[in-house]
Symmetry: D2
Subunit: 171 residues, 4 copies
């Protein structure tokens, strides 16, 4: 029930946080990623070889990541638009990368829910996914991903995601 | 990432389960509620006194619950329809009751997400919420609630919910 | 705002409806599909050739459809589980078939939102998707899809979908 | 089906749009609100008198709005946190105001779906809702609302909403 919303043992990291670790107001938060784009790309190649070459990690930052999905004929549908599963895959991976960067390589974050609103028809060019973590707890990572066609700043889709972080990663 | 969807230590209870606890096919599952409607009602009166009188627990069963929300003028909107927050409240409480019945009184389940599709205008009579748990894990309870106006079997809204079960309840 | 939830010109078809077209209680509703499984399969082959062979329409009924996705190596992820995009695709297609069956071949229903909760790890066998329409209006089709691994009645995922039905189809 | 995502007759207004109405790059978009905060507040008081005094429209801008919900004892739950229905109400109203500002007073936008992720326990002070429209079509308004406790820039909840805009408003 919402009424008693308290999640135990949370990291206390959320988007926009201005204080952390008991430091006073105005101190910079300790939200630096543990992993960079290259390290995560290498890790993904090992763990998810079937995704190799499908996406490029363009940038990883505190509580966020930007990925690019080069679009070719296999992603297209009649009319030249990008398929729904391709958009789903990019949203899922972008949020995975953002989360992995913060919690580290050993971590196994798994998607528990993904809700996506389709806003407009993507054009047949590269798809960009911008992920941000809104709340990183010990057990859940929650946030959203905005999807764009490259060169157009109008979003084509918006996804809200929740990942579960299994306890064995937190030792 | 969905690709590696394994949630550690799950109870393994889901809707429709026909086997459990290592018993062979055809054995009845061990999915009986730990608490009945009266026990939960008493517990809710203590913990959420502000909800007293707002809802009636009509039935509690394995992985499900049915609640009634008597509708009076305070729930209505112009045109005689039931307000969105009233529907939200009933969905949230119905799933809370279904979950509490299974995990027991000590447990503090908290709503982590609620998505609701509004299907048709409720008429100004009692609202019924039928909750079912689709997956009860050690850390998450996931399911849905169908909302009806009494006497009409066409749903007025459908909600999908995820509750987090804090670890201290699992001792 | 929820408060004034009235959608103009709805068909008035929802799951569970027991009366229709002004007929008295006990009359069968007029909810028969306009298209059968074979007709829809032929239509899909023409319109979405890239999906050919990926799914089998097992059954189409009033406000519902059941599809099967034969699972092969291309759908699998490490550990032998079915990929998230494969589950997304099956949920999307199953609800498309259920909607198309009701509104007819000319219709172009397009996904506006899809929310999916992942419940448990699918085993590496065929995936079944059971779609039901909860509300079929003139402009929106709203419902859900339960996904199963064949031979196991515990759901692996549950999706809630909304499709938009463009006005030109309603002439 | 996502594969053919084209929505007929859309306004073509989305967040971040840089061009509009056939004008060249660099031209300002025609996304100015039709109504200001005071006009909308007056309209709401007439149409939803039961909400009077519950929320303050702090700001209305192109494709966005910010509302404040003064929190008093009636919104609180044990532990001093704000209730789920109060958060639902603020998210719903904030997106309604953002949409109404763009489409005008005569319009009846109705909530078709609302998905909310609860991120952290709100503290017992005023709640702020920041709504943005991601896509404003002729028939749907789609976007999100971030909820904050005043004075804390960490979001307490994030909601994704879809409103239907009935056709009679578009004459």
């Amino acid at each position: 029930m919402v009424a008693s919303l308290v999640i135990a043992g949370e990291f206390g990291m959320t988007l926009g946080q201005r204080e952390a670790d008991g430091k006073g107001p105005g101190m910079e938060p300790k939200l630096m990623p543990k992993l960079g784009a290259a390290e995560i790309a290498e890790f993904l190649d090992q763990v998810f070889p079937q995704l190799r070459g499908q996406m490029v990690i363009e940038e990883v930052g505190p509580m966020r990541a930007r990925l690019r999905m080069p679009i070719d004929a296999s992603h297209l549908r009649p009319g030249g638009t990008v398929s729904g599963p391709a958009m789903f895959t990019l949203a899922d991976c972008a949020f995975y990368v953002a989360t992995l960067a913060m919690i580290g390589r050993e971590a196994l974050a798994v998607t528990t829910s993904l809700g996506i609103n389709f806003l407009r028809k993507p054009v047949p060019c590269d798809l960009i996914g911008e992920a941000r973590i809104l709340k990183l707890g010990k057990r859940l990572s929650v946030g959203d991903v905005m999807l764009y066609s490259e060169g157009d700043d109008r979003p084509v889709a918006h996804a809200a995601l929740t990942f579960s972080i299994p306890p064995w990663n937190l030792g």
